[in-house]
Subunit: 492 residues, 2 copies
């Protein structure tokens, strides 16, 4: 009886949050400009209601009772444990703080849009500074022992800390820097044929074909266009992705679609019966990102994948791709080159973009960097790590939407996701004989089945680390990623 009451309450909270998610999706895809003001207010109201329901003392009481109930199954118990954690965390936020965070996000998002339009960081400065102050307050409310940033990191990746991430990056970056130097010493790949005119409607048709090929259930989701590609879900039976078409670059939309499909396949694979409950949710952001990266990079930028899809693409774009060989195509889509825009970076330089943001956020939270100095910090960091500096703010500190959403501590999950992806894919290659050959025939259903089994069906049952150890018999190690990259580029 009380477990049923618990699922009823959680399902109701999920309904509110999923309604909220639809309002966000619409905000990024179809909202007319003047609709922004009341949309922000509507989102704030739904946040408040969801928060009130998830901090209702009657729910806390119910969770305590259930924790003492010996008749629960293992899965039921795990749901209750995780909900209890969520409840405790939610209780730390006052209704007032929830409203202020929501309002600050609405304000910052619109001033970020305006700052990008004007290509002027200072337009964003005041609202970003207010957001940073609020995030410091939030870190205090959530609590931490060693570093205020720890409290925020933990929101996106349970257990993540500055100490832990310093160790990960401390091991990864020097190896990657050496690898990058090796690669830049070699002749650069020619990707000019990817940068011709590619008709937008044809690209759109190609992306729909690709979605279906990879196993995206188009009866349980759809693709739309937005300024910045993202994936979002309102239930495992309604998972949406967005894309952006660049008519001067075939690669942009293609691998962005594969990336978002990777996220969506995870969401579509979550157990429907656990709707609204922790076991119906993704394990963590880094594991979510492992799925998108695995499909985008380990599958989508592999030579077998290129071998299979080049002729398909030549069907869509016979003129532009005439005479291109699979090997040349593979080299082009894996071209390594220091660049200014994170989302367009290759697999190797990508982690420097993440690390720069990680260090920057850490300094903002510590108070050793102030918001007005971000552009200068940014220029110096890009010069140091990648040898280039942005010519303007749009290609610098205004490029990511994250801070305007109040998402401090989010970026590191991108790097963790790549590392998990490499480690999982290495395991899949061992457990699925002939995997590269299957990919070369355009057959990825077995791989999807393996991921469903290993990752998707578990929801939040396991932590990232437990899941990783269960799949690959060891904790996260950058060895797999480094090994994968060395092999891809033919480095000894």
């Amino acid at each position: 009886m009380s477990y049923a009451e618990y699922t009823r309450r959680l399902s109701r909270i999920a309904d509110i949050r999923n309604a909220s998610a639809l309002l966000q999706w619409d905000q990024e895809t179809y909202l007319p400009p003047k609709g922004a003001h009341f949309r922000g207010q509507q989102l704030s109201t739904l946040s408040e209601i969801a928060h009130a329901e998830f901090t209702d003392p009657a729910l806390g009481q119910l969770l305590n009772e259930l924790l003492a109930d010996a008749t629960l199954s293992g899965e039921q118990r795990r749901n209750v444990e995780l909900s209890r954690e969520d409840y405790e965390k939610n209780k730390k936020y006052s209704a007032d703080l929830v409203r202020r965070l929501s309002d600050a996000t609405n304000k910052a998002f619109h001033s970020w849009i305006e700052a990008r339009r004007q290509n002027a960081f200072f337009v964003f400065e005041a609202d970003l500074a207010a957001m940073v102050a609020l995030k410091k307050e939030e870190a205090g409310v959530l609590g931490y022992t060693r570093h205020p940033y720890d409290a925020l990191l933990n929101e996106y990746e349970k257990g993540a800390t500055v100490a832990g991430l310093d160790a990960v990056f401390g091991e990864l970056l020097p190896r990657l820097k050496g690898l990058l130097d090796e690669l830049l010493a070699k002749p650069s790949a020619d990707d000019a044929f990817l940068k011709q005119h590619y008709d937008g409607d044809t690209q759109w048709q190609w992306s729909l074909r690709l979605m279906r090929d990879l196993g995206f259930d188009t009866e349980a989701g759809r693709q739309d266009r937005s300024e910045h590609p993202f994936s979002i879900s309102f239930s495992p039976q309604d998972t949406r992705i967005t894309t952006r078409i660049d008519e001067q670059d075939l690669g942009n939309m293609t691998w962005s679609t594969i990336h978002e499909v990777g996220h969506a396949l995870y969401e579509q694979g979550l157990p429907v019966a656990q709707y609204g409950l922790p076991l119906g949710e993704a394990a963590s952001l880094s594991i979510h990102e492992s799925q998108s990266r695995l499909w985008e990079n380990n599958v989508g930028r592999s030579l077998p994948f290129c071998r299979h899809y080049l002729p398909v693409l030549q069907g869509y774009f016979p003129g532009q791709l005439k005479g291109v060989t699979p090997e040349a195509f593979f080299a082009a889509v894996n071209k390594v080159q220091p660049s200014l825009i994170r989302t367009e970076a290759d697999e190797v330089t990508y982690h420097f973009h993440v690390y720069i943001r990680y260090e920057l956020e850490k300094a903002l939270l510590e108070g050793t960097l102030s918001v007005k100095d971000i552009p200068a910090y940014w220029a110096e960091a890009y010069r140091k790590w990648l040898g280039i500096t942005p010519p303007d703010d749009r290609q610098g500190a205004l490029q990511d939407v994250h801070w305007s959403h109040g998402s401090f501590g989010y970026f590191p999950t991108y790097s963790l996701g790549s590392l998990y992806a490499a480690q999982f894919f290495a395991t899949a290659e061992k457990e699925l004989p002939g995997l590269p050959e299957s990919i070369g025939r355009g057959e990825t259903a077995a791989l999807l089945g393996w991921l469903r089994e290993q990752v998707h069906r578990h929801g939040r049952y396991f932590t990232s680390d437990d899941l990783c150890r269960q799949i690959s018999a060891q904790s996260l190690s950058s060895d797999f990623f480094i090994g994968y990259v060395r092999q891809k580029y033919g480095l000894s």
Copy 2:
């Protein structure tokens, strides 16, 4: 202080309802098929929450206090009075009834879709019968003195009763029947040129042009496609319309777009500062429909409008419209012909479609007709009034979505809307010298300004009848509509 608390509460309820409206909009436009189940659940949850907030005894207490507050302005007092009425009505619904109505709607909507797919009324029968039983229960809960249908009619048009509508139709229908007989005795207009192939994308471009021309603010709204055209609003700054393109019929989309634009212009003209409050809402459904009909028919099917837009349309479709004269175009878009589908009916026969549904709903509510007998009743009524019978259910009793939404008592507002439109337009013609000539130049801003002033800016301040008397110095009379039709068709 307490008026501010009142606006805070009402604004919050509006946020929830507008979120709900976005979920409905998405359901009709972009929702993937498998998403239907959880979407239904999400809509039910939001209904429950809005209902709980609007029946909170603290709100009732607050409204009572405000009614005794002599410092309120006239507008503030009117808001409070209307909210108090709404509160009393909401209180009549138990949370259980709200949930059951929402669940029944979700079920009936999907079985209606399925019944249409199979073209078989019996597929819809059980869920419709359950809905009718629930509506009888609802009528009992709402209360009535003379007829259970009165309780439901009052939901869509305050004060509407069977007695009142019997009087309206009793006066209108015989005159219209005589008029129809006169028209059918004349040679039929040739509209074959409207029924050629008209490219869908070009129709879409044309509809966007038309929207803008009529004053639809595209920064505060948008158009999408759906199976059945509708308009919906999430704030005066985000009002959306949908359309359906029939590539074999230019008229279908064109006048449907004008109709929905008419609704949207009303919503865009509601006072933003009254968001969430009664004075920020439309006066009534019939007044809403008066706006859509006025633009669709009194403006959009007038000879001056045809004179102006025929050359524009010939630019979009030079082949199909070559050699067509404005007079021939005007005759074609006003062709009178008994037909089976309400939404495609001409202005004259339209009211018979409405009357048939009105009589049918009345009989269902009285219990003198049972759901299983609807197709037979339908066939007989169409034969009697229009001399035709539907060959199948899709062209018969399955054509309208309304019953699947639980909307019994809604149809009569369509006829009332036409009558109000004719009466308002006759007044506008007196008060705006040269109105037909303006329309002939494609200039409708003055008319829109007049409607904003006379209708839109008042929100719900006046009842339909008060508004009508204020605008035209008399209550609703079908004389205006009859006079308008006789003049249009050159009848003495």
